[in-house]
Assembly symmetry: C2
Homo-oligomer: 366 residues x 2
Amino acid sequence: MTQPAETTAEAAGATTAERAAMRRALELAAHGPSRGPNPRVGCVLLAPDGTVLAEGHHRGAGTAHAEVDALLQARSAHGPDAARGATAVVTLEPCAHHGRTGPCADALLDAGVARVVHAQRDPNPAAAGGAARLRAAGVDVVGGLLADEARALNAGWTRAVELGRPLVTWKLAASLDGRSAAADGTSRWITGRSARYDVHRLRAGVDAVLVGTGTALADDPDLTVRHAPLAGEQPARVVVGLRDLPTSSRLARAAAAGEPVHHLRTRDPHAVLDALWAREHRRVLLEGGPTLAAAFWRAGLVDEVVAYVAPVLIGLGKPAVADLGTGTIADAARLDLLDATVLAADADDPTDTTTVRLTLRPRKES
Amino acid sequence: MTQPAETTAEAAGATTAERAAMRRALELAAHGPSRGPNPRVGCVLLAPDGTVLAEGHHRGAGTAHAEVDALLQARSAHGPDAARGATAVVTLEPCAHHGRTGPCADALLDAGVARVVHAQRDPNPAAAGGAARLRAAGVDVVGGLLADEARALNAGWTRAVELGRPLVTWKLAASLDGRSAAADGTSRWITGRSARYDVHRLRAGVDAVLVGTGTALADDPDLTVRHAPLAGEQPARVVVGLRDLPTSSRLARAAAAGEPVHHLRTRDPHAVLDALWAREHRRVLLEGGPTLAAAFWRAGLVDEVVAYVAPVLIGLGKPAVADLGTGTIADAARLDLLDATVLAADADDPTDTTTVRLTLRPRKES
């Protein structure tokens, strides 16, 4: 790993021991949850002589924040006054708000911490102010140390918090000529098995998977994670649209069995994302169909596109992408290609198909 | 390079010196023409003691074949009887037919060559018989030595000769959602500059570039090779269809100026390829539009597809691919992906676009 440039001049005040502790805190943070409402945060408490007193990290919504976790470890090892005069090195600015747990800034003050060195500034308007509160109480605060690395660790969460809505990844599967089905509506399978398994990997990284009622009715999908490792529960499965699903459908049966399946009876993408945000969903996968995806696209609510392009030609058939509001080529939506990967077919299975996965980000016009 | 498996048992009769000479002959062959009616062929003449007498290779239609080139070199260096009792090591079975030049088999016999070791068997029914003619005249003939490598050197030519028609590469440029133009017909530019330059490289490797009259009328293309090195002349430019082009069009003006531009007034792909074959075209690039390409596809006359997929979404727009005769997904045309390459945009040009180039071969159903 190359040494990233410092992002703020403030970080110049950090010592060598604090820089090493921040690297360790970043390692600790990486053990935290990669989805859900909270970011991954790590904390190292240093004694005034620079030795490590304790380490902590956040393990998911409802559990202790990293600073509190580290304070608990310090008290457990060294007694109630362990952190008095200590320095807390933490990958994210300590929070100042009351959520499921109390503000970390207060916990640090109560423990008698004399100095706080943090990396990323808190992007959450509801949580920010921790550094100011600490400074006001006489604590020495240094911000911005290895902030780029800390931000990269929580890139999705940071963008979602900055936007104040869940990040949306649109999964698009199409033939080489942009079709999702033949003229008679038949579609299984255009992409290969390796691509279908890769979709389960995508699902495992989000808090909710979305489909429109049209796709739910046409394909009767299950939308669970099966062929990929899943940290924690299955993502929520969300059906969007006004039509009812038959009680015999897979999603209706899962809902009846108490699994997290929700039907949002709206066609407004903003309303959908508001409802998902209220449920603490930070990342969602939009699996189609074309009508729902186009509604999100036209509303400017697609943050990433993962396109599975199958080496298949259909000719006349159902377009994979619906009306995006583009009348002339100058209005066409340009995307930046982030990655192109060939998902190879199983050489032992002549019915399998290699698929090309393209990961793209819509280009924001300046 | 790994040692390829021998393709025929016959090659077992070759000596170590002959095998080394064949590797050298393959190197010489590679200097020959990569397009045009003739294959790339190299020849090394060995004295009875295994030392090299002379080398030769073919330089293009109308010039000496490799064997005759090597015989001329041998006579020039060692006198008129230089090749008496010699062994000719040649990458392709010597021809037995009268083309622009006399049969190589006769030239070898006249020179008194005692033994011939060749690699690839001649796939051309009109030219084959050279080995038999040599054997009938008492020459020792060994075939199949490094035949796979020799065939690979002339893969396109070999397939064209076996098929008895030009090989057809279909160039397809489309948005991520399979569109070639927006709803109002505007299309420039969907792909990036690096992709457009790459098309010039494709053109430089074929004998003729084809477009339908629809594309010729709509886009007024030039179809020349500009941004790629070109060995020899520009490929022929061929317009297919019944409609006239205006005399002011780029292609009509090029034809009036005596450049190789032809108008084939037919819609039958077989008739097109017959006419191109008669002009000694062995490889052609089908540049569109969708109607002409679909006609070739439905006739089973597409051997390779080069698809430029641009990271652009158009939504409603003109499909890049027309009716291929596919009604249901089971009839969709599956292709084998041979290569996927990202053609990166110029980082200094914000208007440029990265494009993904996919090279595919239609899967022949067994």
